[in-house]
Amino acid sequence: MEMNSSNLWVFIETNEKGQAHNVGLELLNPGHSLSRAQGDEVVAIVIGQHTEAAVASAEAYGSDRIIIVEGEEYARYSTDAFAYAFHALITKYAPTSILIGATDLGRDLAPRLACRLKTGLTADCTELDFDEESGNIAWTRPAFGGNLMARILCPNHRPQIGTVRPAVFKKPEQDTSHKAEIVREEIHFSIENIRTKLIEEILDADNETIDLEGAEIIVSGGRGVGGPDGFKVIQQLADALGGTVGASRVAVDSGWISSAHQVGQTGKTVRPRIYIACGISGAIQHLAAMSSSDTIIAINTDPEAPIFKIADYGIVGDLFKVIPEFIALIDEQILTMAV
């Protein structure tokens, strides 16, 4: 592999329908700033059975070039087929850097790939920048449950690879007139050689409707909510604001609400316009996953709760008293406007 190879690759993860997962499109954003710093191009990698929709998105969100691998063996993700195809592409083109979304899929694929290439991989990055001094990407990621941030370099190996959590970056501006160079590669992997066979798929009933990562307003509940009944109050506020219900790890672990609602290091990372934390003390794991929200509002009985340290606004008080008042004020305002 030539060491002076250039180009930054972004893996565009696709779903069953062949559409691009948001995280891949989001990564085109830092992809651009990093590749510009190095005078390189941003290349989108799309692997799937039908890739038109994803390719169109990758183009509109500003990829300079798109490399497509199509085949029926890629209809569903498998470690074996995807690692094979991706590895073949890397061997051929020798990119400098690769960004992959830290989704369940990305976290399955990236380490397999990095190990096959004997190169470095940095997981779950929350910040990417160009380290001028060494000419490497500086990958910043949380460790110790978000208590510590580490800035990591991969100086002597290429490609340098990192995974990035969904919603850490915003998608670039969409431009449907933008054109990318399209490259098709014929790489095939025998279906029989895929060692994991799908037996059954079980879809979560409510997972489809809960989109924390895309939510504009999130109302989250924690220990202070006290139980499943308390979450009805959280839901009422979310409904009144047209928001989505989130939850801390304690609430999910206690079985008060399903894990699809969990915001935190082991749940989802979110960056809504408004985040309202109710009865959440603010364990660092939680803070790390919601601190980039535009406006944070905290309601907690404990004035010393860490959540108040990062909140833009807060009320020290009982959430069961505050929320009904808050809803009443919203209703009142709507009534006023209607007159």
Binding site: T79, R112, F144, A150, R151, G242, I315, V316, I334
Partner: protein
């Protein structure tokens, strides 16, 4: 059946706090625990053993001598054998180097304990949170992998694994030998009672070092690690927010609401909510 479980002793990160003055981690007095995802892996293996009684469960951990405490805990809840991998040349390893060392050790363990049908790892360790060592170990050993498993049951020569996906879960069939990384299971890991811990305390836990098995030491430790930590830092948390703590919740709520509307955070005239 022969099952290997890779476990790590980790500080209980939920107990770690940041010193508000120096902005450094306060690690003193933080208890060390078996990585919770590894405990789920052990419980899953114990459940397989339950169904297939002639199953042997071997535990391996890479870490300092003190990690034997974690291994003892695993022995107390049903593991049969435990090994510690510890060596000067292994310190400072990143995930690629760690998985390489583990892969060399696994080959040695297979000489001692027989071929492993399933290797379990926790999805990730709660201190590093990388979720890389499992898949990288699978790659080194050329094994099929299933990550983020919620459940695993054996059926003849295959393992049926329920795996978490973005949309729910899927059941995959994979032939043994294979490597499975476990996420939090629906069932709780077993408690290691004091009597059980006392019983297994006498059991010998052999330590394997760089001389115990074949390994290319240039691929281990700091020099074998492609990634380098340039610096670590904590995020300072300074309160700049407007916090209301008035006589009644009602007064606080009114003050907050007015401020939100004034600041255009809640827009006047916008009809919020789903009817």
């Amino acid at each position: 059946m022969n099952i290997l479980i890779c476990v790590k002793q980790v500080p209980d990160t939920t107990e770690i706090k940041v010193d508000p003055v120096t902005n450094t981690l306060m690690r003193a007095g933080v208890p060390s625990i078996v990585n919770p995802f590894d405990a789920c892996a052990l419980e899953t293996a114990a459940r397989i053993k339950d169904e297939t009684p002639d199953t042997k469960i071997v535990i391996v951990s890479m870490g300092p001598e003190q990690a034997k405490v974690a291994l003892t805990e695993c022995l107390a809840v049903g593991a049969d054998r435990a090994y510690l991998i510890s060596g000067r040349g292994f310190g400072g390893s990143d995930t690629l180097a760690t998985s390489y060392i583990l892969s060399c050790a696994v080959r040695k363990l297979e000489e001692l304990e027989g071929k492993f049908d399933i290797i379990f790892c926790g999805k990730q360790a709660i201190d590093g949170d990388t979720a890389q060592v499992g898949p990288e170990l699978a790659e080194h050993l050329g094994l099929a992998q299933v990550t983020c498993a919620l459940e695993a049951k054996t059926n003849g020569n295959t393992v049926q694994v329920r795996r978490k996906t973005e949309r729910g879960s899927e059941i995959l069939g994979v032939e043994m030998p294979c490597l499975i990384t476990m996420t939090k299971t629906a069932y709780e890991p077993r408690y290691a009672s004091s009597r059980k811990k006392r019983e297994v305390a006498k059991q010998e836990i052999p330590t394997l070092d760089e001389n115990s098995f074949e390994i290319d030491l240039t691929r281990a430790g700091l020099k074998g690690s492609p990634t380098k930590v340039k610096k670590t830092f904590t995020i300072p948390q300074n309160s700049t927010g407007v916090i209301f703590h008035e006589a009644t919740e009602r007064q606080s709520t009114i003050s907050l609401f007015e401020l939100l509307v004034k600041g255009n955070i809640l827009q006047l005239g916008v009809r919020y909510g789903n009817e």
